[in-house]
């Protein structure tokens, strides 16, 4: 994947040099370099079917429901004859949050003789899952009028999915006895391909400009990724042996992204 990304960067660099050479020679340019310095919006995870065979804490960890901020930057692309384009960028800021309340509700029901579960301070309370990696896209631009453009786009990438663990402290009512409850991801980083179906709507501010054309737009994206995850749940009652359970789950992450972006054409 790393080699492929180097190859794509090299191709983009060569084509951009070619575009500049054409421009200097006074010919109409076949290629235009595009650059998106920033895009920002929200990621709304879509619900997936509940797997009743999974214990509730694993279910809560793998079926995330909380929307999250989406942001990205430095998307570089090349446009051929103002219609066909390719893009490359490094996605570094996609993620969502665990629905940690689901685990706490489960523990409150599973341990009725215990106080409300308390998250322990010794384990990093990182309830965030995020993924990052190189992305490539192909798109087609449709000019609706002098300023307005539609841009259907197919994008795929290879993500490194990261997640945290959780630990809870349950104190027995009426005594000092306690149980520690750990939900641990066996592998902190998992590789997985991702697929994105995008529709951009944009408005070119200065279509007749000779140098840099500026184009703000709105992006609507459907995103899907399947990740194979392994979890270990450990119940550790003080003074008694630990109880552990191992669970494998194929987590489907699907969601919608709505974002505003800025693109520049050169």
């Amino acid at each position: 994947m790393k080699h492929l990304s180097y190859l794509l960067v090299s191709i983009l660099s060569l084509l951009s040099v070619a575009a500049c050479s054409q421009a200097e020679a006074g010919r109409p340019r076949d290629f235009t370099v595009t650059f998106s310095p920033v895009e920002a919006g929200g990621f709304i995870p879509l619900k997936t079917q509940k797997d009743h065979s999974l214990p509730a804490p694993v279910y809560a960890f793998t079926h995330r429901k909380n929307p999250h901020i989406h942001a990205n930057a430095f998307r570089v692309g090349l446009l051929y004859r103002s219609k066909y384009g390719i893009e490359l960028f490094y996605n570094f800021a996609m993620g969502t949050r665990y629905a940690a309340a689901g685990i706490e509700d489960y523990l409150a029901q599973a341990y009725p003789a215990y106080e409300a579960p308390k998250r322990t301070l010794t384990v990093a309370r990182d309830y965030k899952a995020d993924w990052k990696g190189w992305q490539g896209a192909v798109f087609y631009r449709i000019r609706l009028n002098g300023h307005l453009y539609l841009e259907p786009k197919l994008q795929c990438g290879f993500e490194t999915f990261s997640q945290g663990n959780a630990a809870f402290y349950l104190k027995e009512k009426g005594s000092n006895q306690f149980t520690e409850y750990f939900v641990n991801a066996d592998r902190q980083q998992v590789k997985a391909p991702s697929f994105h179906y995008i529709l951009n709507t944009s408005w070119m501010l200065n279509p007749n400009a000779k140098n840099i054309k500026i184009e703000p737009g709105l992006k609507a994206e459907y995103f899907r990724m399947n990740v194979d995850l392994d979890y270990t749940i450990t119940q550790s009652p003080y003074g008694f042996p630990d109880k552990t359970g191992h669970y494998s789950v194929n987590q489907a992450i699907r969601g919608l992204i709505l974002a505003l972006y800025l693109k520049m054409h050169y």
Binding site: L121, Y169, K171, G174, N176, Y238
Partner: protein, 201 residues
């Protein structure tokens, strides 16, 4: 010629404004960087023990005379003294306060016979866990240097108090009246000892 001179004047003035703006931003950045929170150190000057009932979510420390041996807890309240307090008594920003000295030893002795293996005066430290965010044995608490926890407190302080809870994880074999002695030794040589009031366990 007049127009050209005016253009030069405008350009020079714009550049001058840009330089001033840059210098202002740079100065603000340097000031912001320099105004970070200052650290202060404190040391323990005395300890006081309070009997606690840990039956529920939060320990009850109010005039406990009787408690189940299963939920007994000793709360060590330490009086801390700041070594070099902030000069300005009106100071209202938050400040980090750090424990200056490491804890070398913490022992709990039962002043009456506790069980068949622990006569009066025996060390029963291993029957206690510290409740300090996580459940450490006393030895683990000392070796992990948890006593050096920093405190963010507001403004001017000369003295303040901290506490540490010791949870009894093994009830005495016979129900009765018990009292305990706690001794803390710091690496500056200071030793603090206090005894709990008699408690029906």
């Amino acid at each position: 010629m007049h127009g050209h001179g005016s253009y030069l004047y405008e350009t020079t003035r714009n550049e001058s404004m840009s330089v001033k703006l840059f210098v202002t931003i740079l100065a603000a950045f340097i000031c912001f960087s320099a105004c970070k929170k200052s650290n202060h150190y404190f040391y323990t000057r005395a300890i006081r023990l309070v009997n606690s009932d840990n039956s529920w979510e939060k320990p009850d420390t109010n005039n406990i005379g009787q408690v189940s041996g299963q939920s007994y807890m000793i709360r060590i309240i330490s009086s801390e003294h700041v070594i070099d307090p902030i000069k300005n008594k009106e100071y209202t920003e938050s400040v980090w306060y750090f424990q200056k000295y490491d804890l070398k030893a913490l022992t709990v002795r039962s002043l009456s016979a506790f069980d068949s293996t622990h006569a009066a005066g025996a060390d029963i430290s291993r029957y206690f866990l510290t409740d300090y965010g996580a459940q450490y044995t006393i030895d683990e608490f000392i070796s992990s240097k948890r006593i050096n926890k920093k405190y963010s407190l507001t403004g001017y302080r000369e003295d303040f108090s901290t506490y540490l809870d010791l949870m009894l994880m093994k009830a005495p074999s016979v129900k009765g009246r018990y009292d305990f002695e706690v001794r803390m030794i710091f690496d500056n040589g200071s030793i603090f000892t206090d005894t709990t009031s008699i408690m029906l366990l």
